[in-house]
Subunit: 314 residues, 2 copies
Amino acid sequence: MLAFLLSDGGPRLVRDYPQPEPGAGYVRVRTIAAGICNTDLELARGYMGFRGVLGHEFVGEALEGRLAGRRVVGGINFGCGRCDACERGLARHCSTRRVLGILGADGALAEELVIPERNLHEVPNAVSNTAAVFAEPVAAACEILDQIGSVRGQRVLVVGDGKLGPLVAQVLARDGGDVSLEGHHLETLEWLADAGVHFAHPRGNGAAFDVVVEATGSPAGLARAIEACVPRGTLVLKTTIAGSHQVDLAPIVINELTVVGSRCGRLESALERLADARVNVEPLVSRRFELREVEQAFAAAAERGTRKVLVEVP
Amino acid sequence: MLAFLLSDGGPRLVRDYPQPEPGAGYVRVRTIAAGICNTDLELARGYMGFRGVLGHEFVGEALEGRLAGRRVVGGINFGCGRCDACERGLARHCSTRRVLGILGADGALAEELVIPERNLHEVPNAVSNTAAVFAEPVAAACEILDQIGSVRGQRVLVVGDGKLGPLVAQVLARDGGDVSLEGHHLETLEWLADAGVHFAHPRGNGAAFDVVVEATGSPAGLARAIEACVPRGTLVLKTTIAGSHQVDLAPIVINELTVVGSRCGRLESALERLADARVNVEPLVSRRFELREVEQAFAAAAERGTRKVLVEVP
C-alpha cells in the first residue's frame, strides 16, 4: 500500500509498504484523510528517533470490529492496559506505551492503519471529514482545561497563530477566557473574532496575562510566553521541540510561575465541540493533497504561514 | 562602616562605606550575623546586574522604631505598598520592588542596614542568632507548601544537598512527605534521619517521585529533576541560575509535568519552625567568619561541599 515512511534517509512515499496486520485487540482502519502537524515536522528532524509511517491526526473507516463501516477517529496512545496509569485512564502516560505515528507504531499517512479497538470513537454525522481530522489537536487544546480548570474571566494570551494556536484560542475563549492571540500571520484569521478571540501584536502587551499558552514550539516563543505572564500566573507549554534550547528559566522562579506541560487530550471533548460548531476548523485548512502527493504536502506544511495541510485518500 | 560591596570590579570589603540613611517608613538595623547563599555567589557572577552591598540573610538589632533594641529578621522584598500585588500581601511580586542585597537596595553584609519597618519580625527567644540567620531560606522552603499544598503521603525527591536542599527536605518531611535527598555530600547529613529524611544515590531511582524539588541551581540538577518526576508530577524550581542554559523541555510536555517556580516565603512560618525545632539548622553551618574577613568567607562559600557560611559582626 501507499505509505509515508520516515526512515534514516528522511521521510518519503513508498508504494509497496506491507499492509498492517492487527494484533489482539487491534482493528484495521482505512484512512479517509490525515493532517500534518508540527510534531510530524519535528519527527522528520529527529525528534523521538521515530522510524515508521508518520501521521497521527486522522479520520478513517473502521474495517472490522464493533464500529466496522463507521467513520472513526482514534486515541493515539496505545497503553498496556494494565499499569497504574492505564487503569486511571491515562494511557498517554503508560511507561510502555506506543504512540501512533510517533513512538513504535505506524501512523495514519497511509492507506490503512491498525489501532487498538478501544481507542476508536465514532464520528458524529454533524462532523465533516475535514473537521474530524482536527479531533486530535482540538482534544490537545481541551486538555488545557482538564489540567488547569476553567479560564473564565482570566486574561489569556496564546502565543503562536500557526496550526495549534487558533484551536487553543477558540477553546479557551468559548470557556469564557478573555483571549488574545499573538502571531505573525493574523490577517487570515479575522473569522476568529466570532469566537471572541482578540488579536495581539507581538510583544505589545507586557506582562499582563494570567494564563499564557506557548504554541509556537520555538525558543523565542517560549521567551515571549514567560515574559507575558503575570507574577504567579500560569504558563502552558503546548508544543514539544526537538533537542535542547537556550532558555533563561530565572523569571519562572522570580515570578513564581506555574508551568504546565500539556499534551494529548480526550477525543470525546473534541468531537462534542466539533459537532456543535463551538470550534471552527475548516478555515484553518491551508492546502489539500492526495496521499500520492504526500511529499509535496509535507513540504507545504513546513512553509511559514501554512496552517493545516490535509492529505486525502481517495 | 565596614560593608561587602559588589561593584564592577567584583565583590570586596570596603572600610568607609557611608552609614545608611533610613527614608520614610524605614529603620536602621545593626547586623548581628548574616549568611551567604548561592544567590550571592550568582550575583557576584552578574545575575540581576546588582551593584551594592550584598547579603539578604541576617539577624540584627533594630536601632529605632517599635522594635528598637529587639532582635529582628526582615522580609527582603521592599514593595511600593500600594499596588495590587502589595495589597494582596505579595510585595515580593510588586513590579517596582527593591530587594535587600539583590535589587536596588543595599544588603546585610555590613555593620548596619536599613529596611522598611513593616518588614521586620521579632526573633523569639527560643531561636538563636545562628538559627535566625536561616529564617529567610527556611521561609523559602516553606513557600513550597504555600504554593503546592501539603505533600503528606507523597514521594518527594529533593535534588541537591547544598545550602537549601537540606532545609527543604526537613520542611517537607515534617509535613508528612516521604522525602529523599539526593546529592554528593550526604556523609555529613546523617542527622537528617531524625527528621525522617532518606538519602538517595544520584540517578538511582528513575522516574519515581510525585514531587521533585530542584535545589542545585545547575542545568544538570534540573535535567535530573525532570527525569525523576512521574508523569503528571510536580517539579518545584527553587533556585535561580544566572543566564540561559541548554535545557530539553520536551519531557515536561510529554509527561505533562507541572513546574512551579518558587522563591521567597513568609518569615512567620520559618520562625515558628525554628522556635520549636521542627527544622534543625545549626549542623548546616560549615564555617564562621567575622565581617572584616568577609572576602575569605565569600571564597569559602563558593567551595564545593560547603554549606552555610556565617559572617558575624562582633
